[in-house]
Symmetry: C2
Amino acid sequence: MNLPSRLLDDAVEAFAGLPGIGRKTALRLVLHLLRRPEEEVSAFGEAIARMRREIRFCRICRNASDQDTCSICSNPARNTGVVCVVENLRDLLAIEHTGQFNGRYHILGGVVSPLDGIGPEQLAVEELEERARSGEIREALMALPPTIEGDTTIHYLAKRLESHRIPVTLLARGVSFGGDLEYVDELTLARSIATRRPYAPEGASEGGSASGEGPR
Amino acid sequence: MNLPSRLLDDAVEAFAGLPGIGRKTALRLVLHLLRRPEEEVSAFGEAIARMRREIRFCRICRNASDQDTCSICSNPARNTGVVCVVENLRDLLAIEHTGQFNGRYHILGGVVSPLDGIGPEQLAVEELEERARSGEIREALMALPPTIEGDTTIHYLAKRLESHRIPVTLLARGVSFGGDLEYVDELTLARSIATRRPYAPEGASEGGSASGEGPR
């Protein structure tokens, strides 16, 4: 569709660059904003730009924050000894939303995925070990995605944490394999935090292995 | 959902204020932008704000434009004598998109709707009559929504244009009653431009009345 104005076109292109928004939806949003007061639209643009410009990442857990230390890490009511290791901010928010976890977090920034060229050195693994070394962590709850890459990452992290004698726990495998943590229903996710169990490597005596793919 | 950062929350609220975007989608968009380079996000916000700040409305037809006169009104290849009266910019774009209309436009800015307190004085009716008075218009094609309000508006405009002896034409009633022009399929819309017919008030000799709701 040819738009009569370059300014209009630029704004449509900006929206259409967002995930899940096509040009038709983008145009609808732009035409909506065109009818709004100038200050409101200006505030809209500024809220977005400011968020990206000023947001900081917590020096402890890498959570998004307005300060150096995020609201979770600086909350004295939280259990500082239990650290929940998550892939990203979305998964942190999903777990917070269940209200079942009262510890701190550690955002890895991804999972080990050799096919995508992502090794442990690109993730916040060193930072996690540093937290372990400092004696802060008494339990590491691995809330990583239930995929091959997630399992590989858990395996790797468990090895790195072994020397610090930190018990590694897993979300109960109530979450379905191959899914996306963000879309797991709240109840399943909440229960899987409550029924977390110790990490047992493949072939250990426990019966069901940690990756949970054995016969029922 | 409680977000760990005020900045994040402001950005989510900004997106969630747009039509058709809920808080969950808004959060997804914000987290996407959080991963993009700062310059890109800044350019996004600026493109939106700049669009609203700098866009002008054509002094002839009120189309969105980068200049005082829009690209349609300033195009010498267009037939200046035929003016298509539309409710808003979206409908103008829908008609332009068919490629069937080569005249100019007149954006009313709404339709007469006593229930919503919208009278002719809130619409660009005076401006339309001024264009008629100047001798610019040889035909006024009413491409208003096929609703009671649209028909009322057409009736009113036809009366206003009567004294200037300007023939008023209508889109052929191929478009369904109660619909939204923007969502009419392209073929129907294109054909209804090609088969437009003279305006005949209710009960005229033509058989089918202008509002086209008589027995078949």
